[in-house]
């Protein structure tokens, strides 16, 4: 059995991930964090959930035709994750860079289990993942998340609203039901994987101050120095 997700990695770089439901503000916080780390002189690479070219085609066909089952949904996202892990995440970690991941395996644990996939199976599926140095969970009540999405006039997406589960034909109602369950799953993940909880109700600036405090404990000694190596002429 692989247990990479529970064992610290040995790469010189650092892997930080943000987690939370849609409307938790995690992407905003990640962008501010990236800005800060870059300004401090670190080399930063950001990777997003479900963004590899390889599976985009299948995800699109599947989503358009509403053809994905909970199992194929889960496996497609694991394929995307494996692709990004090996081509996008591990190389910068080996190069001593900081990798920031917008969502990680925990998103799959929360969503797939809510869709009815076996809890243990999906954990074993992702056991090839690299354990993050820090996972920040932006906890937000469902009402706050819905208000934020509505204020931005975001059109709720079919799978993000859990419409595939047929719990409600009303997208907003479906979103509440589905993401409410996803929140319950996240609450279980926090102690299981030692995630750092950030209160995502507070102001953007307050949250970012806290985020930087926590991250600073992991990077202060790894600040990139001017290299002693002479450039090859």
């Amino acid at each position: 059995m692989l247990n990479n997700l529970t064992q610290p990695h040995e790469y010189p770089g650092k892997l930080f991930v943000v987690e939370g439901i849609d409307g938790s503000g995690k992407t905003t916080q990640l962008a501010l964090l990236a800005k800060w780390l870059s300004a401090e002189g670190y080399r930063v690479f950001v990777t997003e959930w479900n963004s590899s070219a390889l599976v985009k085609a299948a995800t699109r066909t599947g989503k358009k035709k509403n053809a994905l089952t909970p199992m194929t949904f889960s496996l497609l996202h694991a394929t995307d994750f494996a692709d990004r892990l090996l081509y996008k995440v591990i190389p910068p970690l080996k190069a001593g860079m900081i990798v920031l991941a917008d969502r990680y395996a925990y998103t799959a644990f929360a969503r797939d289990v809510t869709r009815g996939v076996d809890r243990q199976w999906v954990r074993e599926l992702y056991s090839f993942a690299v354990r993050p140095d820090l996972a920040l969970y932006f906890r937000v009540p469902i009402d706050v998340s819905v208000d934020r999405l509505m204020a931005r006039r975001v059109k709720l997406k079919f799978y993000e609203a859990g419409m595939d589960l047929g719990w409600s034909t009303n997208p907003l109602e479906s979103f509440r039901l589905f993401q409410g369950k996803v929140l319950d799953e996240y609450d279980q993940l926090v102690p299981e994987f030692g995630m750092e909880v950030i209160d995502a109700k507070s102001s953007i600036t307050d949250q970012q101050r806290l985020v930087r405090q926590v991250i600073a404990q992991h990077v202060q000694t790894r600040r990139m120095e001017i290299t002693d190596d002479e450039p090859v002429v």
């Binding site: 059995m1 692989l2 390889l54 599976v55 085609a57 299948a58 066909t61 599947g62 053809a67 994905l68 089952t69 909970p70 199992m71 194929t72 496996l75 497609l76 694991a78 394929t79 494996a82 692709d83 892990l85 090996l86 081509y87 869709r115 009815g116 996939v117 076996d118 809890r119 243990q120 199976w121 074993e124 599926l125 056991s127 090839f128 589960l165 047929g166 719990w167 039901l177 589905f178 409410g180 369950k181």
Partner: protein, 260 residues
Amino acid sequence: MTSPSSDAPDAPAQGTGPNGDSPAGGYYGRGIPYLPIHGYPGKLIAIEGTDGVGRSTQIQLLREWLEVKGYGVVETGWTRSRLMQPTIEIAKGSNTLNKLTFVLLYATDFADRLEKEIIPALKAGFVVLSDRYIFTALARAGVRGVDRQWLRNLYGFAIAPHMVFYLNIDVKTLITRVLESRGMDFWESGMDLKHGDDIYDSFRAYQNKLLREYSSMADEFQFRVVDARRPVNRIQDELRKQLAAFLEPTEKPADTLLTR
């Protein structure tokens, strides 16, 4: 599918796991919790064996024979799902497929066919003839060094076939057979493993390893090993004899009703 109000605990693991007795007809491992499958009338028969061993010929003949006997037959293959076929073709063409994504793409494809073709057909009472099954995926991934226990957990959502026929062949016979028909191709020769530029040497080395992987699974997954070096009709006779012995005592095919 689960409902939002049901606070269901984790579904108990069905079957006996990858190392126990294979639970014919049930899930190998933890299964698909939202898709209970006990008590369906159909039968799942897998025909396994390496590339060019003669699986499709045998399946065509079996299908003929079964339909004449009055059984409804559904065929399923490996990488034929509508969802994944375009993606897998793109991936194979672009050489960006690493071993993990390779395995996961095939597993996704299989999950799609399992839920949309195989399980519905079994519930409707068909005999499902599967041209290759998860063992091909396990063998190919095993050769490429993917963790065996991880692979078995991954395919824990698969249904254990009622019968697995493994068409067994030696590399020498296989080589002449493949060269006589359609020649060696990049993937069947394991060229991605970079054994060298020579396709013949690569094919021999790769297929040798594959055959060893298949053999190593024979006990674990209760293969019925069939000597595939013999003529087509001799192999078919053996398949029919074993299949008849399994199907006939439990079901009355339509033609026996006509003779009454």
